[in-house]
């Protein structure tokens, strides 16, 4: 058996961070709790599959359909909670098929979804291409593909996938998919009208999750158009569905932050310390309210620990958040710009454009500002907040 030595690249790269993580562990003093009813861990409220404790492991490990069904539950829960453990569980359930070159389409689709969440975009796309090649009628694959291409700023491919999806699914879903692409590619107004009409005609026919997604999209579009009260209405009606969705909480949190409503952010996200995307928004709001509060200090420390742990693992999924954290919580624009640029290499959503511009301006890096200006011209992205920042920068010059 050949064992990897410590001189692997991984160990080298992770060295400083490992030290950091380990020093945290060394400083801690283990204890014996005094009372048997002392609570050690709160479990996530939603219930996933627990194949191992329910004695179903054997079936799952043999039957791809059962495994896929279990993985799907974990992935859905992951979307609601933004808890990375759910992804790890989903991948573990797919264990037997995970490393195959071409697993069954059903499994491959789920692998694509997990890979996307881990920011392995090219791996995810390769899987999706294989699935759509094998099953051109697979709506799920086209939808995931469309969102993935949109995220990477690959408009023609994104639009093509949305078009292929349309005949395979209901009106609201296809409208939402088309609007998701068009709204960041020069047709914000039209996309909004299309989706709004589909939403009006839907009258509750579509699944809650699709309606919630559409409402969130409408909220984000109105926000980019500068119609804040309309955006507020969309976000509020999405929230009133009482269908927990961490992405919605993040999007609404960002809207409130941009609108300068920090205390509303705190009441929205007070208990959301588990998902760091949400914890970040909470910490940013607390920074605005009172940069010296004890609560903020604790949250800041938590975030720093989690970023460090992620880097030690070699994860590259946090750059956007790290950039915002460095810029707004630590006021380190140069660091923030570095993360924003790394992030920009991976993804190109409106939020990525915004943080790149903010960090570029704060660091006085005019080539980054020009890069953003060029991107707006090429992509046709409309966003009043970004445009306002750009003109203020031009005025400053």
């Amino acid at each position: 058996m050949i064992l990897p030595s410590f001189n692997t690249r991984l160990a080298f790269r992770a060295w400083p961070l490992l030290l950091l993580v380990l020093s945290a562990s060394a400083a801690a003093a283990p204890r014996v709790p005094q009372r048997p009813d002392e609570v050690l861990a709160k479990l996530p409220s939603s219930v996933g599959v627990r194949p191992w404790t329910e004695g179903r492991a054997a079936t799952l490990l043999e039957d791809p359909r059962a495994a896929a069904a279990a993985a799907r539950v974990w992935i859905e829960q992951g979307r609601a909670e933004l808890d990375p453990r759910d992804l790890g569980r989903a991948q573990a359930v797919l264990g037997r098929w995970w490393n195959l070159a071409s697993p069954p389409a059903e499994i491959r689709l789920l692998r694509a979804s997990i890979r996307q969440s881990l920011h392995d975009f090219s791996g995810a796309l390769a899987d999706l291409d294989a699935v759509t090649g094998e099953e051109p009628g697979n709506a799920q694959a086209w939808l995931t593909k469309s969102t993935l291409h949109t995220l990477r700023g690959e408009w023609p491919a994104a639009r093509e996938a949305a078009l292929r999806l349309a005949p395979l699914t209901g009106r609201l879903t296809s409208a939402a998919a088309a609007a998701a692409v068009a709204s960041v590619n020069g047709q914000l107004e039209e996309a909004r009208e299309l989706l709004q009409a589909a939403m009006r005609d839907d009258r509750g026919a579509s699944a809650d999750s699709i309606r919630l997604w559409s409402l969130t999209l409408l909220g984000e579009m109105a926000e980019r158009l500068g119609r804040d009260s309309e955006a507020e209405r969309w976000f509020r009606s999405a929230l009133s569905m009482r269908h927990r969705d961490a992405y919605l909480l993040g999007a609404y949190g960002d809207f409130l932050l941009s609108a300068g409503r920090a205390s509303d952010v705190v009441s929205l996200l007070r208990d959301e310390t588990r998902a760091d995307g949400l914890l970040l928004r909470l910490a940013l709001a607390e920074t605005i309210i009172d940069p010296r509060s004890a609560e903020l200090a604790r949250h800041r420390e938590l975030l720093q620990e989690r970023f460090a742990s992620a880097r030690a693992r070699g994860d590259r999924i946090h750059q956007r958040e790290e950039s915002r954290f460095h810029l707004h919580a630590l006021r380190q624009p140069v660091e923030a710009l570095r993360f924003a640029q790394e992030n920009w290499n991976a993804q190109k959503e409106p939020a990525d454009v915004k943080i790149l511009l903010e960090a570029g301006m704060a660091a006085g890096h005019s080539s980054t500002v020009n890069q953003v200006r060029q991107w707006l011209r090429d992509s046709g992205l409309q966003d009043v907040r970004v445009e306002r920042m750009l003109s203020s920068f031009a005025a400053m010059k």
Partner: protein, 382 residues
């Protein structure tokens, strides 16, 4: 307006749609309470102390600890499962010291916090009869329920600390301790890095080639003439290569050991300049037979360049002797391959117009141009 009656078809769409959305993953970052575990092994002369920290949430995923199903795990619930968890840890963590299997029977169960999560902590202790030379660990905890689980590892022995990370695909690790302990894996790595560095560090290769090009010719009446016999050619190559090797080994060692320091702002442009000079010498000779001296003087500077590459590999925590030796050996091997490939070809072709005009003249012009561009870029900080 009437609401259309839900057809079967529509119902099916709704179902599909529900599944669809779940799979578009939000790109906002995941929570970073990712599943981490911590393992530390500390060997002293007398004993091995070990500690394994596993998140209570992960143990719940494996064993189902929430016996009263109230959505939280208490200390009482954890201790109720103590025996089976201890057995699990014993099966899934194997440790060898000096290639002998160590029995890890948990001594005590404690609780600790990392970040804002509680961890169950096991401590172990085993007497050791001899000094630790190697430690080896294999770890498979939690991987079966969470493929993204990672264990952060700290191994300590003879005053040296090693860290690492274990994952489902790399679940074991071996480390050596004590001065002079053989580190075959490390040595391989550094030899490979050394070879790689000289082959991909075109400035070193071009410098060497520029010096070797005139080895098979001699300057007679203002022009290059092919030498007749192999011996003077080999002698010239040997002098040049030895001088270059001795010089760069010297400064590589001095710089790697931290005794002499030179800023890359100086080293890098001077390396580029050395290539320019060596190439121009082939066109308008000014140092002729003194090529080996030039090789020595600039070899000193190239050595600093090698040291920079070695330092980038981050040698924190380990002894420097092995990496230094390995890296230097690698550089020499890489260099020997170039020389052995070049010299026979050059000797065979030395009388041809291809060699005298193509290789010697135009080759040197080419090298001059490339190296001048490097020089400019390095001076301007590009």
């Amino acid at each position: 307006m009437t609401v259309p009656a839900p057809s079967r078809c529509r119902f099916r769409w709704a179902l599909i749609a529900a599944c669809l959305l779940a799979l578009i993953s939000p790109t906002a970052a995941r929570a970073h309470q990712a599943s981490d575990g911590y393992v530390s092994l500390v060997a002293t002369n007398q004993e091995l102390t070990a500690r394994v920290d596993l998140a209570v949430r992960d143990l719940d995923a494996v064993f189902g600890l929430d016996d009263n199903v109230d959505g939280s795990v208490t200390w009482g619930e954890l201790t109720a499962h103590q025996a089976e968890i201890a057995q699990y840890v014993r099966t899934n963590v194997t440790v060898k010291v000096n290639d002998r299997l160590i029995d890890l029977t948990p001594l005590e169960l404690l609780v600790d916090e990392h970040g804002d999560a509680s961890f169950a902590v096991w401590r172990f202790k085993q007497p050791l009869t001899e000094k630790v030379r190697t430690m080896e660990i294999r770890y498979r905890c939690v991987f079966e329920v969470d493929a993204l689980h990672r264990a952060f590892l700290k191994l300590e022995g003879e005053g040296e600390v090693r860290t690492g990370m274990l994952s489902p695909s790399e679940d074991s690790c071996r480390a050596s301790f004590g001065a002079g302990a053989p580190r075959p894996h490390g040595l391989h790595t550094f030899i490979r890095e050394g070879i790689w560095h000289i082959w991909t560090g075109y400035d070193h290769v071009l410098f060497l080639l520029a010096l070797l090009l005139p080895a098979v010719v001699a300057r007679v009446e203002g022009e290059w003439r092919a030498v007749n016999r192999l011996r003077p050619a080999l002698w010239s190559v040997l002098k040049t290569v030895t001088a270059f090797t001795a010089a760069h080994s010297l400064t590589l060692s001095l710089a790697a050991l931290g005794w002499v320091r030179m800023s890359p702002r100086i080293v890098e442009p001077v390396i580029a300049a050395s290539v320019v000079l060596a190439a121009i010498n082939n066109l308008r000779p000014f140092f002729l037979e003194k090529g080996w001296m030039v090789a020595f003087v600039f070899g000193l500077i190239h050595g600093f360049g090698f040291a920079g590459a070695l330092q980038e590999m981050d040698l924190a925590g380990g002894s420097l002797a092995w990496p230094l030796l390995g890296f230097n050996l690698g550089v020499e091997c890489g260099q020997a391959v170039i020389v052995l490939a070049f010299v026979p070809c050059a000797f065979l072709l030395r009388r041809s117009r291809f060699y005298q005009i193509g290789a010697l003249r135009f080759g040197s012009i080419g090298i001059t141009l490339v190296a001048t561009r490097w020089l400019a870029l390095r001076l301007l900080g590009g």
